[in-house]
């Protein structure tokens, strides 16, 4: 079976090379049938990649340890779902997942657009195929998942801390995001290659970008939640290079999502949009490279990793390719529209972009500096949390405020007096909230207080937008309030879906700001003793031991009370996993008690379990942290609304492109 997998990958490589070369020739020489052939090759490449992926998946499900990769990441006792998710548990498998999603997206993109914008799409196919060539080559020649060996009795198994539903879903979502950014990138490059200066490429990829961006966001939240409950140090984001690897393209893509709206409304920023989408895509390749090659831990592990140098070359080629195209077409892309006023929605979007890109680049610097400093000066540095926290606040807080200002400002030119009136209520509400919070002690953290105040402003502004819009709709169509709201959203899905996404981001900000008000207490407890923190009392009752097929579990049983009233039991302890290997894997299992009303978590970490039955605990009370997870759902909901197909808009766009001439669907 391994040969079938290997052969399928070779077929994919061959098809993608053909699609790149023949597709480029067909686009340059305008050969219709050859272009169709290249398109078919890309679609066929998806098929053969599915075959390869199927072989690997089957290998996992059947515990075929003659496949080295399967033996490295799975074992017989692993649950079926985790056996399948072990597919992307290592380097080769995750490269295959990348290729699978890429060819899938590529096939879908060229198939859906087979009769539209032919002169543009004819270039999209070879660009997507070229990216696929990179990954297929790695899989065939450098890091094959189908290496075989004499099958051992059992495999190495999946790291127990990865056996968690959130960790199972995290890589696929992340990859759907990373890879998804390749499609708008390919369309942008296609537009440059075909010399088109209109916004056809943006119209074609609007939903693609939104889907990729949403997947990237959800994927990161899944990862953060895993870190919170499984790794269990009391936090959810450590500014680890691997985490930053996903955040950077997300920030660039967020900037892109906003700036394309400016191009749509005013025809400006054409060059900036192309630069941004290229940046987002290159960052996603860089992110994959960071996560996969271990380059950041040390430059030594870079040279040990076999794919490191190849990825670096890949990034270099992508950057060079994009830069050359942009510089070549620069004269064409200049628009004559100018920014009319510093106080307008365009200007706000511009500030938003600048802040997002600034944050993205400072994170990039934080990630790259250790590598550069070692390569150039021979000494490594470690860039820690304070650096990232500082810049997150400096750039993030103004961004938060802008989310409230943007929706209320008109395009082109807004009068300051008009703004004053529109801002009045949100401003008053936010000041009131700020004062109340100050009175309640939120002044202990200035950035936290600012974040909360700004959040109140944004939420009030968005609520007002909904109210104003609904009221206007009601007056127009004399519907009921719910009906008017429903049709308001229905007629403006992108706008109000976007507002809901903004609400999600505000929830995220409030949840994150809550960590500035964490309470923590630690101490050694013997059975019968308790610790008090932020009004809670945690009583350590006894230690119990449980034996399961996978691990020996030790749990400290606790009783949580508040103000004398017992709230309930809680368990926290450690697992010793029974895995073949020189040292036993031990993991901490934290105890979390969530107060769903206030969003607060009582977070108990059993740091050390001593032989005499005493346990050293560290206990956090984390206010508002559950807003972060709630934000995930609101985020998804808002995105789906924004994505929802709008028949009216489709018609309008179809008319525009038909009218430009040619066949009904030729443009």
């Amino acid at each position: 079976m391994a040969e079938l997998g290997r052969a399928a990958l070779v077929v994919t490589l061959g098809l993608c090379v053909y699609a790149t070369v023949a597709g480029s020739y067909a686009a340059a020489r305008r050969r219709r049938r050859l272009a169709g052939s290249a398109r078919n090759a890309l679609i066929a490449a998806f098929g053969s990649t599915v075959v390869a992926a199927g072989v690997l998946a089957a290998g996992f499900l059947r515990s075929d340890f003659s496949l080295t990769y399967v033996a490295q990441h799975s074992n017989r006792t692993l649950g079926r779902a985790y056996k399948l998710s072990a597919f992307w548990g290592g380097q080769e498998g995750s490269l295959l997942l990348w290729l699978l999603i890429l060819t899938g997206y590529a096939a879908l993109a060229v198939w859906l657009n087979r009769n539209r914008a032919r002169d543009l799409v004819v270039w999209v196919a070879p660009v997507l195929a070229g990216i696929a060539v990179g990954f297929a080559f790695l899989l065939v020649a450098v890091a094959s998942p189908f290496d075989v060996q004499a099958a051992p009795a059992d495999g190495a198994g999946l790291n127990p801390s990865l056996q968690n539903p959130y960790m199972m879903a995290h890589p696929p979502f992340l990859y759907l995001g990373y890879v998804g950014l390749a499609v708008p990138f390919a369309f942008a490059m296609g537009a440059l290659l075909s010399g088109r200066t209109d916004e056809r490429w943006i119209v074609a990829t609007r939903r693609w970008t939104l889907v990729a961006w949403t997947a990237l966001g959800v994927g990161q939240l899944l990862g953060a939640h895993w870190a919170y409950v499984e790794v269990g140090w009391g936090g959810y984001y450590a500014w680890d290079p691997v985490e930053n690897a996903a955040l950077m393209p997300f920030l660039a893509a967020t900037a892109f999502l906003h700036s394309v709206m400016i191009q749509e409304k005013r025809g400006m920023l054409k060059v900036w949009n192309v630069v941004l989408v290229a940046l987002a895509f290159c960052l996603s390749i860089f992110g994959t490279f960071l996560t996969r090659s271990g380059v950041v831990n040390s430059i030594h592990s870079f040279s040990e990793s076999n794919i490191g140098p190849w990825f670096l070359a890949f990034i270099f080629v992508a950057v060079a390719f994009a830069t050359t195209l942009i510089v070549w077409r620069l004269p064409l892309l200049r628009s004559k529209t100018r920014l009319e006023s510093l106080v307008s929605r365009e200007a706000v979007f511009l500030y938003n972009n600048l802040l997002l890109v600034a944050l993205c680049l400072t994170i990039l610097w934080g990630v790259a500096w250790p590598i550069l400093s070692e390569a150039v000066r021979g000494t490594t540095v470690v860039v820690g949390r304070p650096y990232y926290d500082f810049f997150l606040r400096i750039f993030g807080l103004p961004l938060l405020l802008l989310m409230g200002i943007g929706p209320m400002i008109a395009w082109r030119r807004a009068s300051l007096r008009g703004l004053g009136r529109t801002f009045l209520w949100p401003f008053l509400i936010s000041v009131a909230v700020g004062l109340v919070l100050l009175w309640r002690g939120a002044g202990s953290s200035v950035p936290g207080l600012i974040a909360y105040t700004f959040s109140a402003f944004v939420l009030a502004a968005i609520a007002l937008e909904f109210i104003r819009g609904t009221r206007a709709r009601k007056a127009l169509a004399s519907e009921s309030w719910p009906g008017a709201l429903f049709s308001l959203i229905g007629r403006n899905r992108r706008r109000y879906g976007g507002y809901i996404v903004h609400v999600a981001i505000v929830f995220l900000a409030i949840g994150i700001a809550g960590s500035a008000y964490d309470s923590v207490v630690e101490g050694k407890l013997a059975p019968g003793q308790s610790l008090r923190v932020a009004g809670y009392s945690v009583l350590y009752q006894r230690l119990v031991e449980r034996d399961t097929p996978h691990a020996a579990e030790v749990r400290a049983q606790l009783l949580v009370s508040r103000d004398g009233k017992v709230l309930g039991p809680l368990e926290a302890g450690k697992n010793s996993f029974k895995i073949a290997g020189p040292d036993p894997q031990v993991s901490s299992e934290v105890g979390i008690r969530t107060n769903y009303l206030t969003g607060e978590d009582l977070f108990v970490i059993p740091e050390q379990i001593n032989a005499d039955g005493s346990v050293y605990f560290r206990i956090f009370v984390k206010p508002l942290v559950n807003l972060i997870w709630l934000a995930g759902f609101v985020f998804l909901f808002g995105s789906i609304i924004a994505l929802w197909p709008d028949a009216r808009e489709q018609r309008r766009l179809a008319v525009r492109y038909e009218e430009a001439g040619g066949t009904v669907r030729g443009t």
Binding site: W233, H300, L342, S373, G384, Y387, K524, Q608
Partner: protein
């Protein structure tokens, strides 16, 4: 009427300048990061560094009571010098003899005194997240 000269260019230039200024100001005050050293390089270092090494010998003591004591050597040099470390705070689950770890701290009188909760273990497998101690 549209203005002849767009303020956009000015804003962008000013913003970039502002960002650079903030950045340079921050890094000159707070530093560009903590230098990362190996036990063999520790000798002359004053000031806080991040010590990267492999745990040798059996650790003694209690990180939550008096301090955990162990020795670190260069990861790449089995015969190299070892440095005694005293550590207080959260100990990651993966900490064990033979594991590669990073601790921040200062060298004081021949012993590396670690900053509380600063230990991070490097994971043995290539694709598992490291477990940071209390962040």
């Amino acid at each position: 009427m549209a203005r002849k000269r767009s303020p956009a260019r000015l804003i962008i230039a000013l913003s970039i300048a502002a960002v650079l200024a903030i950045f340079l100001l921050y890094t000159s005050i707070a530093g560009g990061g903590t230098p990362s050293v190996k036990p063999s390089q520790l000798g002359g270092q004053t000031g806080t560094v991040a010590l990267v090494g492999r745990v040798v010998g059996a650790p003694t003591g209690d990180a939550h009571a008096g301090g955990l004591r162990f020795r670190l050597r260069d990861v790449q040099n089995p015969k190299g010098t070892t440095v005694p470390v005293v550590y207080t705070g959260t100990v990651p689950d993966l900490f064990a003899t033979g594991r590669d770890i990073v601790v921040e701290g200062k060298l004081e009188n021949g012993t590396f005194v670690a900053t509380r909760d600063s230990m991070v273990t490097k994971c043995p497998s290539k694709y598992s997240a490291t477990k940071p101690a209390g962040q």
